[in-house]
Symmetry: C3
Subunit: 352 residues, 3 copies
Amino acid sequence: MPAFARNQWYVAAYGHEVGRELIARTVLGEPIAFYRTEDAAAEVVALADRCVHRRFPLSQSRLDGDTVVCGYHGFTYDRTGTCVFVPGQKRIPRTARVTSYPVVEQDSFVWVWIGDPALADPAAVPRAPHLSDPAWVSVSGMEPIDCDYGLLVDNLLDLSHETYLHGGYIGTPEVAETPITTEVDEGAGIVRVSRHMDDAACPPFYARSTGIEGRITRWQDIEYHAPCLYLLHSRVAPVGVLPNPDGTDPHAFHTEITYAITPSAPGKVYDFWAVSRDFAKDDPEVTTFLRDFNHKVVMQDVDALNILQKALDTEPEGYQELSINIDTGGLAARRILARLAEAGAKPAEQVS
Amino acid sequence: MPAFARNQWYVAAYGHEVGRELIARTVLGEPIAFYRTEDAAAEVVALADRCVHRRFPLSQSRLDGDTVVCGYHGFTYDRTGTCVFVPGQKRIPRTARVTSYPVVEQDSFVWVWIGDPALADPAAVPRAPHLSDPAWVSVSGMEPIDCDYGLLVDNLLDLSHETYLHGGYIGTPEVAETPITTEVDEGAGIVRVSRHMDDAACPPFYARSTGIEGRITRWQDIEYHAPCLYLLHSRVAPVGVLPNPDGTDPHAFHTEITYAITPSAPGKVYDFWAVSRDFAKDDPEVTTFLRDFNHKVVMQDVDALNILQKALDTEPEGYQELSINIDTGGLAARRILARLAEAGAKPAEQVS
Amino acid sequence: MPAFARNQWYVAAYGHEVGRELIARTVLGEPIAFYRTEDAAAEVVALADRCVHRRFPLSQSRLDGDTVVCGYHGFTYDRTGTCVFVPGQKRIPRTARVTSYPVVEQDSFVWVWIGDPALADPAAVPRAPHLSDPAWVSVSGMEPIDCDYGLLVDNLLDLSHETYLHGGYIGTPEVAETPITTEVDEGAGIVRVSRHMDDAACPPFYARSTGIEGRITRWQDIEYHAPCLYLLHSRVAPVGVLPNPDGTDPHAFHTEITYAITPSAPGKVYDFWAVSRDFAKDDPEVTTFLRDFNHKVVMQDVDALNILQKALDTEPEGYQELSINIDTGGLAARRILARLAEAGAKPAEQVS
């Protein structure tokens, strides 16, 4: 399984999860406490979740204005992580400070940077603009999974599993049968996997949300920005309906399926998921249906990956896998992740 | 504790447990999926419980006829373990195959062979014919125990524990007081432990099933076929009633107590148990009583062995035991198991 | 975290917990079964909780008079740990004996000695006489915590945490604000930490038990007898009320807060706690209030220490702490504990 790529942006939370109560997330093995400042900017602050005094988790603390007061002995930190109060004495040790992590809030996500802060470029945060664009309506959630994050990358880059694991939900025989095309941009760390089905059964996910009766033309275009952001551009239309020559596509239904894949610790991953649509935007029944139905689909993956990780944990070292054409995208992703991890493991001066 | 003896037959299930739904058992650390073919032969198939593609457990799959369709990406295997379908392409890699284990179904048990298949001799499966002989009526069950299988072998070869752990059920003072005789057939791997009580109290197990009032002559003749099969030939009769000189024994009550001791993994064992009787065969109350009562007795062992294993897990390496006469059979069993494990650990060509 | 100091007395139980049913406690990693003899002396017996035969826990046994009958095969031990019966034979092996630990019952506690019995001096058991003195009324309890015992020592020697962890119960701002004085008697292994607040808010713990309205003079005088016994001499009075020049102190309220800190195993500690008062002795409502209220306070510590240990378990080796003035007592305690552990690790002849 791939190591962690440190010098990268990762989604730690949805923006709406972070407020005036501290929340704890562990990203790449680093425990972090998040909160939002009370000023007008309402910025998200990310501090190392361990008091310098006795390592008590700051996420168990309370906020006093924009400072964090440790719940054990009262060591108090400002938003930069600098300690501004200790009990029983006036002098504050100069080394009393916790790490403050670079944060970017964008496209409904809170992104955090784990590696060398000098390398943290906000402009490098990958985009999922549909998540906060009024032209789309989104439903979303997050599930922690007790598996290596590589298993979730594998899962999402090989959609042939929809036919078997998600049959009756989003899978039909055509998904497994239709060959894929794969493009890899090694430099940008992007893997694209496309599967265009000209004439396929319409699974309940789309039949009930779009109202299409009968067979469909179904396109799945994956765009994986390693390590964290996964976009699935999904297009369905009545069979034979194609985009216009000018690129407009008024008779198709478009869905953006977004995942953020955030390694929490070895054998643990946060699975952020969202479904955004450009149709039936005012129909709350479709919203409710897609939220509940996609949650079921996600839980099918969660259950399967929990089972798979347990199985792998009992396998002898160096167990074999057998890869075929459908795995082309996943194998490319593993190569990129290994390269990013290696780069992130180097001292900063060598990386930049 | 003894290592695993690989080149041996082990009970993996009762025949009635295996049907058209895959079931999972782990034997000697190897995960195996079992099912029964749909043809007239209705044979039991045992396949390695890991898909060659990404190691997903095949026991989470569904059957399509006599093939197994992996529940993750649809890799499909026939009963020999050969892959006959993969998604997205026509060509099936030649190495796409999972292990198919030799199986023998006999005496109500499904036996599986873990070691070198070239050495798997169906004629070597030890017999417990009373389990499927209409001259006997049997009740049975299986309990997994979180203990080394050696602890269950110890337990069953030293029945003095009946007096203390199973007092008020099957134990009376005479069991612990009466010396045993032990015979060991090292070559055949059989240990025999006998305890003949001429005049003993009748425990509830026999009082309520046979109707005997008053004291009994009680014989316990153990026959342990290492590593898996344990038979306890039990004979009770009103005190002083002995078999006829010609060997017939019409005035006694005979019970065959069968155990199959199958190591699942280090620290885990399957405890298959059965009680077969040659009396009151048409009395359903006796059947129900023996099933419920013996289940309670088995659970007393299960609880004690779970406790014992937890205690041993906290003992320092090389902890001491103190053995006395009652342990003669158990110590002989350990020697045989160690020898069988050593033999099974050698390459096949040296073993045969 | 400090190692275990073996040649020391530890509290294993309250006297009222030990009777004619065996109870199990693990002290310094050693499993011990306790019971009380049925003769007039009703002495507490402490035997190693492992039968010599197959290591079954004797705490799962039953008493027969003052002997312990192993619940598995009936090996029977007298109060000295000598085996007096084995099943199936008359001869008892000479080596059939379990360790009998020195025990002292004093001040409501059962103290046990784990190290070299030749060094066990009953006169060296530290005293908490208020626990059985009719001049005081006590409430008490015990909570196991899943943390290293050093975390509980840290907790109790630095009461500034009362302000934050126990705010609204026993903590007020003055506890954290008021500097401490620390005295260390290295030879006797005693750490004293004092905090005298001249003018402090009265927390609910004292307001509701003493009836004081308004601010108080509050003295906290800790006396920690490493490794096990912790005494907090607490004095509260209306603000400005001091003891008389002759040492009498009739207008103050005295509370003795006792803890026994007994390492059970690595990462596990028994937290024995008691609150003894010299006021409102005949008022059962105060008794009930202090029992319930202090239990809540103890559980705040238990929850925090469980959380803290889990956090530390994920920290990399050699994680840093930052100590300030409030930690003076705790750091002294760690030094003494390290010295006692080192002494206890040596062979007895070198220690004495």
